[in-house]
């Protein structure tokens, strides 16, 4: 604990005593992170190459059986495809719907700006299970939309809005919008009213100010938001599972299914690795795109 005070000297010297203190400072956190982050990834990799005879306590032989299932079974092709489609749809709609809000928050001079910002990101304070439930209430067979339509006699039967990928997509869009808004807001730092005024004074009309000034300047923030939403969407499972009612098959739901229902842990591990690979390649692509955008 004495490190705080001796710090100015400690930064330049590495005496035995200060090294001991350093070790004490690092140990608890590092142990926790190794157990909860590093080891899990290694175990995951190991399990993905183990035969399905493994139990909680290990066992099983070295095999690539799980990977051949993931890579060659048409069912998992479809699952991967579904996942990507869900990710793209959610990312595009979440970004399109979040953009006006972020733009509004970045430019408003209203004294309620703080409150409005808080309101836009407040849903993050709510468990995704709770918000998914909200959407089940809205889109369900006897939910808000169907009841309203029926009482207005617009439709007589039930419009299927849940237990399919439509419901999952809508719910995920709303659930992930606060992330998109936050990412865009921090990316909109370069936008300011003066730039727009300058452009307007130089003769640009509203439309031109938007396409020539606002849009290019906000593009990096938009890209970051899209990436964030996409990676969160493809790794989600609570919302697709509950909104899909077991009829939406994406990587997340299949991982959960194999891990907790079928108890085929090697397959769950292989699917997770698959997800991780997808995840990393998207992030790499994003970095390329961002560099291209800045160049």
């Amino acid at each position: 604990m004495s490190a705080a005070a001796t710090a100015p000297t400690a930064t330049s010297s590495t005496s035995a005593a200060s090294r001991g203190i350093l070790l004490m400072l690092l140990l608890p956190g590092l142990v926790a992170l190794v157990i909860t982050f590093l080891l899990p990834l290694i175990w995951l990799l190991r399990a993905s190459f183990t035969s399905s005879t493994m139990s909680a306590f290990g066992g099983g032989d070295l095999t690539t059986q799980s990977y051949s299932t993931v890579l060659f079974d048409p069912f998992y092709w479809r699952v991967t495809w579904n996942t990507l489609v869900l990710g793209f749809n959610v990312a595009i709609f979440a970004v399109v719907l979040s953009y006006p809000i972020a733009l509004f928050l970045a430019r408003t001079e209203s004294r309620f700006r703080g409150v409005l910002t808080a309101l836009a990101v407040a849903p993050l304070l709510t468990s995704s299970v709770v918000r998914t439930y909200g959407w089940m209430v809205i889109l369900g067979d006897r939910g808000v939309i169907n009841s309203t339509l029926q009482s207005l006699s617009v439709t007589s039967g039930v419009i299927k809005l849940t237990n399919n990928s439509f419901g999952a997509t809508v719910a995920l869009i709303e659930i992930l919008m606060p992330y998109a808004i936050l990412a865009m807001l921090s990316g909109f730092g370069r936008l300011n009213a003066q730039l727009e005024e300058a452009a307007a004074m130089l003769g640009a009309n509203r439309f031109k100010v938007f396409t020539r000034i606002i849009l290019p300047l906000s593009l990096p923030g938009v890209l970051t938001a899209a990436l964030l939403v996409f990676v969160l969407a493809i790794s989600s499972f609570v919302t697709p599972r509950l909104m899909g009612g077991g009829r939406v098959f994406v990587l997340g739901t299949e991982v959960f299914n194999e891990a907790t229902v079928t108890l085929n842990w090697p397959l769950a591990a292989a699917l997770s690795v698959m997800l991780l690979v997808l995840f990393s390649s998207i992030i790499l692509l994003y970095q390329r795109a961002l560099r291209a955008l800045e160049a």
Binding site: P8, T9, S13
Partner: protein, 355 residues
């Protein structure tokens, strides 16, 4: 010297990986109750010395003696020093009173005595009644007073001040200068302060230690430093002056470049090369034809400064700066030829030129 309160003995600090020492065999001492200024340009090692005395960094070699006892291996928090930091470093989460009483709490002083001493310290620095304020509620000058109170309330062996006036604006600086001097005199604490400002050093300190590149150049009273600088660095760092190089031709007389001869007061062996310095305000417009040390030249530039007039006079290849009192009757104009003179005792021997 042996009975001096503080003795700095051959102090050296070499940072790991550094080629040259930041502090290079520095020695000086202070009698009890003295205020010493460590003066020098930034990076000269003055702050490093102060931090070594405080105990915040360990010297590479050398000793720091308080009343004859070497304290350089005593931990910083057991040395009983008071220190005023450049930006005051008051504890932002405590009231002023708590800031001041912090050192007393650490020394396990009883509550009643603590309150009494904090009250007295607040009175001393003229912050009476402001003990309950937060740090952020005080002005810069008040924060500095609080920092001084915090370091004096523990009755330290030695008060250390690191650039104490640099964070204040010009007007407040003059006020605090006198204030600090006054507080130090009243408490009788031995004090060392670090500054890069010569005016500050000259006006506040009993003695000055001028440093350059890790070495102590000269130590002495303000007057000694100003009038009798022993090195060219000290001469040029403190006040303005024109330095001439020349050779001693007879006792107290040197031939210097571009001028015929210059009389000076000082000991330099015959034939030795010397550097001589003339302060601008020691030059006079020639009145008495019999005076030695005459310079004739053309006035190239005149700046009127109210009380003085600064002339740049071209004497051969050299530009001589002279500050003349404005009441001196006839004042020269630009382009006119003037003759200036300087008394031999105002020509200072600032160093031997290495052959």
């Amino acid at each position: 010297m042996a009975d001096h309160h503080v003795i700095i003995d051959n102090l050296v600090k070499t940072y790991p990986g550094a080629q040259k020492p930041s502090v290079d065999h520095v020695s000086f001492s202070l009698p009890r109750g003295e205020m010493l200024a460590l003066l020098g340009p930034s990076g000269c090692g003055k702050t490093t010395i102060l931090r070594m005395i405080a105990g915040l960094i360990a010297p590479t070699s050398g000793a720091i003696r308080l009343d004859g006892e070497d304290v350089s291996s005593i931990a910083v928090y057991k040395r009983n020093m008071g220190m005023v930091f450049q930006a005051y470093a008051l504890f932002p989460h405590m009231t002023i009173a708590r800031n001041i009483s912090f050192g007393l709490e650490m020394r396990k002083v009883g509550r009643a005595e603590r309150e009494e001493r904090v009250r007295k310290a607040l009175d001393l620095v003229k912050l009476t009644g402001l003990g309950d304020r937060k740090v952020s509620q005080l002005s810069g000058g008040q924060q500095q007073r609080a920092a001084i109170a915090r370091s004096l309330v523990i009755e330290p062996e030695l008060l250390l001040l690191d650039e104490p006036l640099s964070n204040l604006d010009a007007k407040l600086r003059d006020e605090m200068r006198d204030e600090i001097r006054d507080i130090q005199a009243r408490t009788g604490v031995t004090a060392i302060f670090v500054t890069h400002d010569q005016d500050e050093a000259l006006s506040m300190a009993d003695r000055l230690a001028v440093m350059s590149a890790g070495r102590l150049e000269q130590i002495g009273t303000p007057r000694e430093i100003f009038d009798r600088p022993q090195t060219e660095f000290v001469a040029s760092f403190i006040g303005a002056g024109t330095v001439f190089e020349g050779k001693v031709t007879e006792h107290g007389l040197a031939m210097v470049e571009d001028l015929k001869e210059l009389r000076f007061v000082g000991d330099a062996p015959l034939g030795s090369p010397v550097k001589l310095m003339i302060r601008p305000h020691r030059l006079r417009l020639l009145t008495d034809a019999g005076q030695p040390n005459r310079f004739s030249g053309t006035v190239e530039h005149i700046v009127y400064r109210g009380q003085t007039l600064t002339l740049n006079v071209r004497c051969g290849s050299r530009l001589l700066q002279a500050d003349l009192p404005t009441h001196a009757g006839m004042l020269p104009e630009r382009g006119s030829t003037v003759t200036l003179s300087v008394a031999p005792e105002d020509v200072t021997l600032v160093g031997q030129v290495s052959p």
